[in-house]
Symmetry: C2
């Protein structure tokens, strides 16, 4: 059995990344979705190890000191990170692993694991992203403009991603994401060991 591959999937708020990933996981049983660690308190209904690995700030710092994170960051007073352990267990078990993280986290992971394959989910147009953000009905007009501005900055920062998947329809985006994963398993490093 060959080792799994590590994929990062990033994309701006409102692009439909969660829907695409849900559909991808429904199609492919050999995938592991990395669960983040966080120091924030669980919200009602959130389970430890399912939605997040909930850690105390002391434990989180200890994990940082022991290099237990592939990436981590702090947002509004809480720390979030990708624990190395579960990712490596899944890769060793031959599963492909998907990290749903932001562009800055992706840079940290790629520095530690240069073989990581990065995919950015992009909107078909800025007008369509604005339409999707508005359709969610969760944000004020001002917040939507902020999210749009942030999305434009993220696209600029993502220029070194390996692949861009335009989420025009969920079906197309899932097909492209699947194709990228199949193609990356055709890279020479792992494919030719049986012939040399």
């Amino acid at each position: 059995m060959s080792r799994g591959k590590l994929f990062i999937v990033s994309g701006p708020s409102g692009v439909g990344k969660s829907t695409v990933l849900r559909a991808l996981f429904a199609q492919n049983s050999n995938l592991y979705f990395s669960v983040s660690a966080t120091t924030r308190d669980p919200r009602p209904g959130e389970e430890d190890g399912v939605h997040y690995h909930f850690l105390s700030m002391d434990t989180f710092r200890e994990w940082i000191a022991k290099d237990e994170f592939l990436e981590y960051a702090e947002f509004v007073g809480n720390a979030y990170g990708t624990p190395r352990k579960y990712v490596d267990e899944a890769l060793d078990a031959g599963k492909d692993v998907i990290l749903d993280i932001e562009v800055q986290g992706a840079e940290q992971v790629c520095a530690k694991r240069p073989e990581t394959v990065t995919v950015f989910i992009a909107p078909p147009s800025w007008e369509e992203l604005e339409r999707r953000l508005t359709a969610r009905g969760t944000d004020t007009a001002e917040k939507i403009q902020k999210r749009l501005q942030r999305a434009k900055e993220e696209v600029l920062k993502a220029n070194n991603y390996d692949y861009f998947v335009v989420n025009d329809t969920v079906e197309n985006a899932v097909q492209e994401l699947s194709a990228i994963m199949i193609a990356e398993h055709c890279r020479p490093d792992e494919k030719m060991t049986h012939l040399v």
Copy 2:
């Protein structure tokens, strides 16, 4: 409409490359299969422009002088080459182009067109390649051993190919080849022009 992409598909004699390509073309109408030029005489049933572009040696030399070939070579007194013109017409029309050429030709093409994507079709094992060559019933035992030897040399020379597709079953090989073509269309250069 975006420009098509140029793919090279190579593989040793007996690996089943023609069968895989035929199945790929049956599935995908947006592909152009590059027809080679040659100075050898047409065999019965071969049509000019379909099986080969049949050229006189003078014309072939003229095309070389005018840089009309993406690659060319001589085998047992006859010249063979890939005319640039038809390939570029197809690419401009938005079609992906497949060149079915050998490793040395691939090097020439990649030197001229560094964006070319190279795929090597490999056998699942040397034993299986020998079995397939034997099953064809067209070669002597000695010839089969020579082909096997040549195949091993080709795999070593192909170590800088972008992708390796193991032809265990035609269905898997076609799926992987299709995935590679879809994935390569998700490369950032062409994907993000609508957002910047």
